[in-house]
């Protein structure tokens, strides 16, 4: 984690960079879809090769050989959306209501690739989940890798989202919603 921060300090990418602005707007759109539990629309934000990850190991950058809370490729995400929406999963049917704020954006990189410009943005997410007279706090560092569409911002998509919970190494409640 220290190296990209040092780089960013040396030559910071401003959050006002138009490509970064598009990425941040997508991150906010995603946050609202998750709070509204609009999971089908949420999944449409991801590329076919996209990954949605909630690791346990806070230092991990590769997730294949370790146990994660969530390590979803397109197939697992599709099944997860079905589970969250079809009405048979009692945890999802009676899920907590959530409100989340995503802020403290730090653009990590902006790069060009064959399939379009990619923006990597780090951020902080504070989520409050309310269920049965109880508020649970979920704090996490996020990293989004976002592929910008050559056509329009409406086509921008998430290639990778990593949710690093501050308490990923200890016991968290079993959740009926997504981070």
């Amino acid at each position: 984690m220290t190296e990209p921060i040092a780089e960013a300090l040396a030559a910071p990418i401003p959050t006002t960079d138009p490509r970064v602005v598009r990425a941040i707007e997508l991150i906010w759109r995603e946050a609202e879809l998750l709070d509204r539990k609009a999971y089908e629309s949420w999944n449409a934000l991801y590329t076919d090769d996209g990954f949605y990850v909630i690791p346990i190991d806070p230092e991990a950058e590769r997730f294949d050989d370790i146990l994660n809370m969530v390590y979803d490729d397109a197939r697992m995400r599709r099944m997860r959306v079905a589970r969250m929406t079809e009405g048979h999963a009692i945890a999802a049917v009676d899920a907590a209501r959530t409100v989340r704020t995503v802020s403290r954006f730090v653009p990590e990189s902006v790069s060009e690739s064959m399939s379009g410009d990619e923006v990597v943005v780090r951020s902080a997410q504070i989520l409050v989940a309310y269920k049965r007279e109880r508020h649970d706090l979920w704090a996490a560092d996020l990293v989004h890798r976002i592929r910008l569409s050559a056509d329009s911002p409406a086509g921008d998509q998430i290639v990778q989202k990593i949710v690093r919970l501050v308490d990923s190494g200890s016991a968290v409640p079993a959740a009926g919603f997504l981070l």
């Binding site: 146990l67 969530v70 589970r83 009692i90 945890a91 409640p173 079993a174």
Partner: protein, 425 residues
């Protein structure tokens, strides 16, 4: 007529076919359980693969007491209270690691891996006051079977193997999922639920809830896996009471002894790529052994009071208070040559699919358990029923009380042990 369960003594609250709902909600009973069960029974603390070399340690709990399980220089595994002998500070707050000893952060009293007090800064103040030799870390009796390490605070407890009794045979069978290799821990999920520990203890021997609570998981897996777990009306699927509160629930009896393989069962098509990959370096029989064991063994072995060896993982519970419990789902896999990395990757993905706070199974279990805790507050004397299958429970050829896998034989076994331990002053 199902009447209430009334009484003043703990033993009055448990009958063969029912228990009082107070068992989930009464804080005084919880305090008694901590001293009479969790400070007397053999409590699972670690698997041997977590302590691979001298200096390896894990920190965990026996009941509510924090402990360190450490391997010393001679390879002896000890369980030590995680508490400095000086002023009581915890010595170690890391879940696991590799150390030369333990040093208290407060006044730097230092202890060896065997718990002996090695050093005290500015020792002149203790001259004529005490001897270092009297101030080792408190040790718990520690014994292991089949790689499963248990500790007890009761110096007079029966030997572990005696407590396990016939469960030992099932531990041996469970470990066969290594496919000829030892088992190692691959990782663990940790989660909390707002309910009493016994609700989770019961769940691991509750075949009845599976297709209902886990309908969404069943819908998401391939047909072969769903079929494998379709045990509801299969009369060959049974639960045995193994004594001492232990029980085994066989969901897939053809996988209870993984060495019993006549070769007729096809390997699941979902593992075709894995089989092809492994076939480059392992012979056909070896490939078949590890792939046939991808979902673990065909049973859940419930060991009273805190660990279940559940198909392909360990489920470990820790009571926090009368209405809060922490649970670990420990993923395991074969500890073999690098060719098996692909097997363990696949096992990790299977584990993630069902287990943990965001799995397709665990959150639904936890919701069910939360609801039991909330509902049980309604009438503390109204019974919780554990009578399913009581009329069809018969001894097996081995003499184990046995009924269908969806019956509550395993819960009755656990509550009989609860009653025995809670009645024992």
């Amino acid at each position: 007529m199902i009447d209430d369960v009334l009484g003043t003594m703990p033993a009055d609250l448990v009958r063969t076919d029912r228990v009082a709902a107070r068992l989930y909600t009464d804080p005084e009973l919880f305090e008694l359980e901590m001293s009479r069960i969790f400070e007397r029974a053999w409590i699972w603390v670690a698997h041997e693969s977590e302590l691979p070399k001298p200096g390896s340690f894990v920190s965990t709990f026996v009941g509510r007491q924090p402990v360190i399980v450490a391997k010393d220089r001679k390879g002896v595994v000890r369980t030590l209270l995680n508490r400095c002998r000086h002023r009581g500070a915890s010595l170690c707050e890391k879940p696991s690691g590799q150390v030369n000893g333990f040093t208290c952060p407060y006044h730097a009293w230092s202890y060896g891996l065997d718990g002996a007090l090695r050093g005290i800064p500015y020792p002149d103040g203790y001259e004529g006051v005490m001897e270092k030799g009297d101030l080792s870390l408190r040790k718990l009796r520690t014994e292991s079977y089949g790689g499963m390490i248990f500790a007890t605070l009761d110096e007079a407890a029966e030997p572990l193997e005696e407590f396990l009794g016939d469960a030992g045979l099932w531990i041996d069978r469970f470990m066969k999922q290594g496919g000829g290799y030892p088992i190692k821990v691959l990782g663990r999920h940790r989660f909390t639920f707002r309910g009493n520990w016994k609700i989770q203890l019961e769940n691991t021997t509750d075949g009845y809830h599976f297709p209902i609570v886990h309908r969404s998981w069943m819908a998401s897996v391939d047909a072969e896996t769903a079929n494998m777990m379709s045990f509801m009306t299969d009369p060959t699927c049974t639960t045995h009471d193994l004594g001492h509160g232990n029980s085994v629930m066989q969901m897939v009896p053809t996988h209870s002894d993984l060495d019993a393989d006549d070769g007729s069962e096809p390997l699941q098509t979902r593992f075709a790529d894995l089989v092809a990959h492994l076939s480059g370096s392992l012979d056909e029989a070896a490939v078949r052994k590890v792939v046939r064991a991808m979902h673990g063994t065909g049973f859940n072995l419930n060991l009273f009071p805190n660990v279940s060896m559940s198909a392909a993982f360990f489920r470990v519970l820790r009571p926090v208070s009368v209405n809060e419990t922490r649970i670990e789902h420990v993923a395991i896999g074969p500890d073999g040559p690098p060719e098996l990395d692909s097997v363990n990757r696949a096992r990790l993905r299977i584990h993630e699919h069902f287990q943990g706070p965001f799995g397709f199974g665990t959150p639904d279990d936890a919701e069910g358990w939360d609801r039991v805790q909330r509902g049980a507050a309604a009438a503390p004397a109204m019974p919780i029923l554990v009578n399913r299958g009581l009329a069809r429970e018969k001894p097996s050829p081995e003499g184990w009380p046995t009924s269908h896998v969806t019956d509550e034989t395993g819960m009755r076994a656990a509550y009989a042990q609860w009653k025995a331990m809670m009645s024992d002053d």
